[in-house]
C-alpha cells in the first residue's frame, strides 16, 4: 500500500496496539449499537475475537461505523484496517479490495407488508422497491431488472423506516438481515427468501495487504477448529431468529465453503 512505509500493515497495527475495524452501526443483529452505545452483533462478536487473538485484548479494537456505500472507500483511504460489515463478495468489489475467506452465507430476500406480499420478482414491475445504496441488492436489481423503480437510502435504518412508512412496496436486502427484521416487525413477511446467487460474506482488507489477509485466513481456520462461528450464531443470531432459520444456511465455519 504505502511504499514509503517501512512497517507492514500488520506490524503497524501491533505498533499502534489498536486495530480499526469497519462495522455497521444500524444492521441488527449483525452490527448495531445498543442503547448503551456499545457495538454489538454477529460481525462484532468475530471482530472482538480477532482483536483478542491479534493484540491480546479484545478492548484494543476501535470500531469505525460505516455505511454500505462507504465500505470500499474506508478501506481504500486507510480509514480502517479491516472491514467486518456484512460485506458480500462480488466481482466488482474484488477489484477494489481483497477479500479473506468467508464467514457467512447470504442471498437476497425481499420483504413486503402482509396485505400485499410479493412472492415473485415479476410482481415488482411498476412498483417501488426500497434498497440500500452500495448493497448487493442495489447492484442485482440495477443489472438484472433495470425497469423496477428503486428508492435508495444511505442507511439501513432509513431503508427499513421507509418500508414501514409505506414509501415503497417492498424492500430487498440480504436475506439474513431480512429474516431478523421480520421476526421483530409484525405485519411484514419475507415473500422471497432466496433471490440471485448464493453469495458469501467475508472480511475485507486493503488491496495488496496480503500479510493481514493471510493472517485473517489463518485465524478463521483456527476458529473453525473450535466451531467459533456456531458459538457466535448462538450468541447473536439465535436470540433473534429463534428456530425459524437453520444455522447451517447462514454460518460458514473455518473459512471453508463446500
Amino acid at each position: 500500500s504505502q511504499p514509503e512505509e517501512e512497517l507492514s500493515s500488520l506490524e503497524k497495527i501491533k505498533e499502534n496496539d489498536v486495530i480499526r475495524i469497519g462495522v455497521f452501526g444500524d444492521k441488527p443483529p449483525f452490527g448495531y449499537i445498543d442503547e448503551n452505545g456499545e457495538n454489538q452483533g454477529y460481525d462484532i462478536y468475530l471482530a472482538k475475537r480477532i482483536t483478542k487473538d491479534l493484540l491480546g485484548d479484545e478492548s484494543k479494537v476501535e470500531f469505525v461505523v460505516t455505511e454500505a456505500a462507504n465500505r470500499v472507500e474506508y478501506l481504500q483511504s486507510g480509514k480502517v484496517d479491516l472491514i467486518l460489515a456484512n460485506f458480500t463478495v462480488t466481482p466488482e468489489r474484488k477489484e477494489a479490495v481483497d477479500f479473506a475467506n468467508p464467514y457467512m452465507k447470504v442471498s437476497l430476500g425481499i420483504v413486503s407488508p402482509d396485505g400485499s406480499v410479493i412472492t415473485d420478482v415479476e410482481q415488482l414491475e411498476g412498483k417501488k422497491l426500497i434498497v440500500n445504496k452500495g448493497t448487493t441488492a442495489e447492484m442485482y436489481f440495477t443489472q438484472n431488472h433495470p425497469d423496477i423503480e428503486l428508492i435508495k437510502y444511505d442507511q439501513n435504518t432509513e431503508a427499513f423506516n421507509a418500508l414501514k412508512d409505506g414509501r415503497g412496496d417492498a424492500l430487498a436486502h440480504d436475506n439474513t438481515l431480512v429474516f431478523a427484521w421480520v421476526v421483530e416487525n409484525e405485519g411484514f413477511t419475507t415473500g422471497i427468501t432466496e433471490l440471485g446467487n448464493q453469495d458469501y460474506i467475508a472480511p475485507a482488507v486493503q488491496k495488496g495487504d496480503t500479510e493481514l489477509l493471510n493472517w485473517v485466513n489463518d485465524e478463521l481456520k483456527k476458529l473453525g477448529e473450535e466451531n467459533f462461528m456456531h458459538k457466535n450464531y448462538e450468541a447473536t443470531l439465535k436470540p433473534v431468529y429463534g428456530d425459524t432459520v437453520d444455522p447451517e444456511s447462514v454460518v460458514v465455519e473455518g473459512g471453508i465453503v463446500e
Binding site: 441488527p28 442503547e35 448503551n36 452505545g37 460505516t66 435504518t157
Partner: protein
C-alpha cells in the same frame, strides 16, 4: 402511545449520549470558528492589499469556496483527497478542514467589507490632527472596523454551527448520528422515536443558535451610530 414517545430521550443513557454527541458537534464548530477567525482576518487583510495578482488569487479562492456546495467539499476531502493521496483523514478532521476553508473565505470577505466601508474622511480627519498612519489604524480604523465586523462575524459563527449537521453525512458520530442510533435501537419499543429525537435535536440547535443571533443583533444595534 405517542405521548410516551418523549420517554425515549430519557431511557438508559440516551440523554447523556445525545449531549455527548452535541459535544462533538460543538468541538467541530468551535475549532473551525476559532481557526476561521484567525485565518479569516489574515485573509481579509491580504485582500485589502493593492496587489492585482494577490487580489485575483484571493477572488478565485473565495468564489471557488462559495460556488461549490459545502457537502461536495466534504466529500471531496473525505473521499477524493484521502484516496488520491492515500492519507487517512478522520471525518472530524475533514469537517474542521472544510469548515475552516469556508469560514476563512467568508470571514475574510467580512473583514475586507468592514474596512473598505469606512468613510474616507475618517482617515483624513485623523491625518488632520497629526496622527501617523499606524496611529490612524490603531485608534480610528481598527476600532470602527471591528464594530462593523463583529455582528457579521457572529452571524457567520451561527451559520457554521448549523452547518456542522452535515458532518453526519460523512460518518462523523455527532449528535445527529447518535440520534439515529437511538432511533434504531428503540424503534421496536417506541415507534415515534424519530419524531422525538429529531424534534429534540432541532430544538438543541435552536437553543444554541438563537441566543447567539440575538446577541449579534443587540451588538449591531448598540454599535450602529
Amino acid at each position: 402511545m405517542q405521548d410516551l414517545g418523549v420517554r425515549v430521550l430519557f431511557q438508559g443513557i440516551n440523554m447523556q449520549r445525545l449531549l455527548g454527541g452535541l459535544l462533538i458537534t460543538g468541538r467541530i464548530a468551535l475549532v473551525s470558528i476559532i481557526l476561521s477567525t484567525v485565518l479569516g482576518i489574515a485573509f481579509g487583510l491580504l485582500m485589502l492589499r493593492k496587489n492585482k495578482i494577490i487580489n485575483i488569487l484571493c477572488r478565485i479562492y473565495l468564489e471557488a469556496i462559495r460556488i461549490i456546495p459545502l457537502l461536495v467539499w466534504l466529500f471531496i476531502f473525505y473521499f477524493g483527497v484521502t484516496k488520491a493521496f492515500r492519507i487517512h483523514l478522520d471525518g472530524e478532521v475533514v469537517c474542521i478542514i472544510v469548515f475552516t476553508l469556508w469560514g476563512t473565505a467568508e470571514m475574510g470577505d467580512i473583514v475586507r467589507g468592514a474596512v473598505t466601508s469606512l468613510p474616507v474622511h475618517q482617515k483624513e480627519s485623523g491625518k488632520a490632527i497629526g496622527l501617523t498612519d499606524l496611529q490612524i489604524y490603531r485608534y480610528i480604523i481598527i476600532p470602527q472596523a471591528v464594530r462593523r465586523l463583529v455582528p457579521a462575524a457572529i452571524n457567520l459563527a451561527t451559520r457554521m454551527i448549523k452547518t456542522t449537521s452535515l458532518a453526519v453525512l460523512i460518518g462523523v458520530i455527532e449528535v445527529l448520528k447518535i440520534g439515529q442510533q437511538i432511533i434504531e435501537s428503540s424503534i421496536l419499543k417506541t415507534p415515534t422515536a424519530s419524531l422525538w429525537v429529531y424534534g429534540f435535536i432541532f430544538f438543541l440547535y435552536f437553543i444554541i443558535c438563537y441566543p447567539v443571533t440575538i446577541f449579534s443583533r443587540k451588538l449591531e444595534e448598540k454599535w450602529q451610530s
